[in-house]
């Protein structure tokens, strides 16, 4: 048992008949994820890797118990797919889809929040509880069970660091790829709160990036003592002057100040006594000291 999902979580795959949906359904099934149904509007009656396909979640619910959803539909149909999952009270809803307009995500996330439903993503690798359930697109063999939780804004960097953890015998209680979009479901601070109450998590790794203020807000929580478990962080983009010029005008400067820059994030973590790794491998070194 872990946060959000576990080995008993029954899952529907929305967009199961698509290329990615079908491919990853296979991999998730191989990992042991209990995928009980798939949904693709207009493809009801088919099956994909032995999973029956329905036109709608409601139709799938007539035949199966379903807890959670993972969504692979193209961006154009994402609003409807996520809304359908929300209406049917699935929780959590993992949105793999990338390219969803920010205003659309904003509406979806606010609607889910109103109904106390967790969205992971969009544009994310999903969530994995090693050895129990993989609800995402991460390569399963990279992970192994343990007590380190990983929260990450980056997809591939998550795999990178998780592999280092695994190779160094630091198993994971849960790895949550919260996604790279500006507006998202679960944020770093929200994930921290969940993990603080998770008995299987002893230590936490945050993989951040330049931009946004989630890392600063996370550091604030830790500093206030609301998160007591030890945390190690890595920030990608320290040397990236890449995104300068992509500031948000005076308005952004007024609201954000210096927040969003790598220095701001590192400073905030330092002030919260969170160790910030310079190289990915340092995450391992730091974890071993705490």
């Amino acid at each position: 048992m872990a946060v959000l999902v576990n080995k008993d979580t029954k899952v529907v795959v929305q967009g199961i008949t698509g290329r990615e949906g079908s491919f990853h359904t296979k991999l998730m099934l191989e990992y042991g994820t209990k995928i009980v149904a798939g949904v693709t509007p207009g493809k009801g009656g088919n099956d994909v890797h032995g999973v029956p396909v329905y036109d709608s979640i409601k139709d799938a619910l007539k035949e199966h118990d379903i807890d959670a959803s993972i969504i692979f539909v193209p961006a154009k149909f994402a609003y409807d797919a996520v809304m359908e999952a929300i209406y049917n009270e699935l929780n959590p809803i993992v949105v793999i889809t990338e390219g969803i307009p920010i205003w659309v995500t904003m509406k979806l996330v606010n609607e889910a929040k109103k109904r106390n439903i967790y969205i992971i993503g969009p544009n994310c690798p999903g969530i994995i509880v090693p050895g129990e359930i993989k609800l995402g697109i991460m390569p399963g063999h990279t992970f192994k069970p343990g007590d380190v939780a990983v929260i990450s804004r980056s997809g591939t960097l998550t795999y990178e660091i998780s592999k280092l953890l695994t190779d160094n015998n630091l198993g994971q209680s849960v790895v949550i790829g919260i996604g790279g979009d500006s507006i998202k479901g679960i944020t770093i601070p929200e994930a921290l709160r969940l993990l603080e109450n998770d008995p299987y998590t002893k230590r936490i790794v945050i993989i951040g990036e330049i931009g946004g203020i989630e890392e600063e807000k996370a550091a604030e929580l830790i500093k206030k003592g609301e998160i007591t478990k030890p945390v190690v962080a890595y920030i990608a983009g320290k040397h990236a002057t890449l995104r300068t010029g992509v500031s948000f005008g005076h308005a952004g400067a007024i609201i954000l100040g210096e927040m969003g820059r790598p220095e701001s994030k590192i400073r905030a973590f330092n002030e919260a006594r969170v160790l910030v790794a310079r190289l990915p491998i340092e995450v391992i070194d730091y974890l071993k000291t705490i």
Partner: protein
């Protein structure tokens, strides 16, 4: 994507936010033609995406052809913070009575739009926000209900603008909101918003950012991009292929999958003493074509000494990446070494494909980065 001032104003105009008569010129001749149409005095403003022109002293005025010629020439040969000025906006000068500030911004963390208004607009607005916060009102907007004219009046009232005077500003609030919320904008800022001596309220500047993901439902983004030109640039062509490329100044070509991993790779090249030549993210779920195009793009960068490819397969499959690499090696006649790091989904299949072609891919990122940096130094 940031819009040029003149593009932002075009959006404003569509939604009824008043702007001064203007035209965009790419040459002195065009500038003169526009000035003739709209009449002197005019303001001459370089159109750049970086912002903060005002502080760079790049906003000029002209009372007649002579002054316009001189200023247009100067500006069209200018570089502002590394950005080449290719186009200038010629705009009817307005008679400023007072400068205000208004902006709508998407607050990503709170997942809500925010509106800001100040009675003290101008380039020092951030200073005002810091030292005189009572002159700037910020307010969150319920995303379900949207902006309301009474909220505009509340904000104006809070800043002491009341009655008939307040009423003048309400249409700006409402029309700018429509532009912001209906056009998938993330920022719509007017600084200064000017009240003229004649009593009109006019947007004299426009700082607008649109969500890149919205191109599918905002036809005009494509139109703007097409008009922009610059399609000969490597970055633009890469984008057309679905590849995110930013050209830097070093000699280690970096290709990664996923923004985070690619950024981390760039960071590591730096950490180990190398100089990244670019940031290139092939994104999630790339097939062989994208990999091919990515390598092809980098071969066009001058001074590049080595290509470092760092792939950790998730939704991206290693076998498809390997196929793309083989295709590139076959077709591109690569003159520089290629260092590949490959792991993740379908890793075995990918490695097998590369090994057949005699390429040994790294599993460890650090080792690959170190090798690439080493090769870049040998080549110097």
């Amino acid at each position: 994507m940031f819009l040029y001032e003149h593009e932002g104003k075009e959006i404003f105009k569509r939604y009824g936010v008043p702007i001064p008569p203007n035209g965009v010129a790419f040459s002195v001749d065009e500038a003169l033609k526009i000035a003739k149409e709209i009449g002197y005095p005019v303001v001459v403003k370089p159109q750049i995406l970086g912002g903060r022109r005002g502080k760079a002293g790049a906003i000029r005025f002209a009372e007649n052809d002579e002054e316009l010629i001189e200023n247009a020439k100067t500006l069209l040969s200018m570089d502002i913070r590394g950005e080449r000025v290719e186009r200038i906006l010629i705009e009817k000068k307005v008679n400023i009575e007072h400068e205000y500030y208004i902006a709508y911004l998407m607050d990503f963390f709170e997942r809500k739009p925010i509106v800001m208004f100040s009675t003290e607009g101008g380039i020092e607005i951030e200073e005002v926000a810091r030292t005189k916060p009572e002159a700037l009102v910020k307010r969150y907007i319920d995303p379900e209900l949207g902006m309301k004219s009474f909220l505009a009046l509340e904000i104006l009232n809070d800043l002491g603008i009341k009655g008939r005077e307040a009423r003048k500003f309400v249409p700006i609030f409402m029309n700018l909101w429509r532009a912001f919320s209906e056009s998938d904008l993330l920022l719509a800022e007017i600084n200064p918003l000017v009240k003229t001596i004649e009593g009109e309220v006019i947007a004299v500047d426009a700082r607008v950012m649109v969500d890149d993901n919205a191109e599918v439902r905002q036809e005009w983004i494509k139109e703007f991009k097409e008009k922009r030109g610059g399609r000969e640039s490597i970055e633009y062509r890469a984008k057309e292929k679905g590849i995110s490329l930013v050209v830097l100044e070093g000699d280690v070509g970096v290709i990664g999958n996923g923004a985070g991993l690619t950024m981390a790779t760039v960071d590591l090249v730096k950490e180990f003493g190398g100089e990244p030549a670019d940031f290139l993210d092939i994104g999630g779920g790339a097939g062989p074509e994208k990999v091919f195009e990515a390598i092809k793009s980098l071969t066009q960068l001058p001074g590049i000494k080595v290509i470092l490819m760092n792939i950790f397969g998730g939704i991206t499959r290693c076998d498809l990446v390997a196929k793309g690499i083989i295709e590139a090696l076959g077709k591109l006649n690569l003159q520089i070494p290629l260092v590949v790091r490959l792991t993740g989904t379908n890793e075995e299949e990918g490695r097998a494909i590369l090994e057949k072609a005699g390429i040994k891919a790294y599993t460890d990122m650090i080792a690959a980065v170190k090798k690439a940096v080493e090769l870049s130094k040998e080549g110097r």
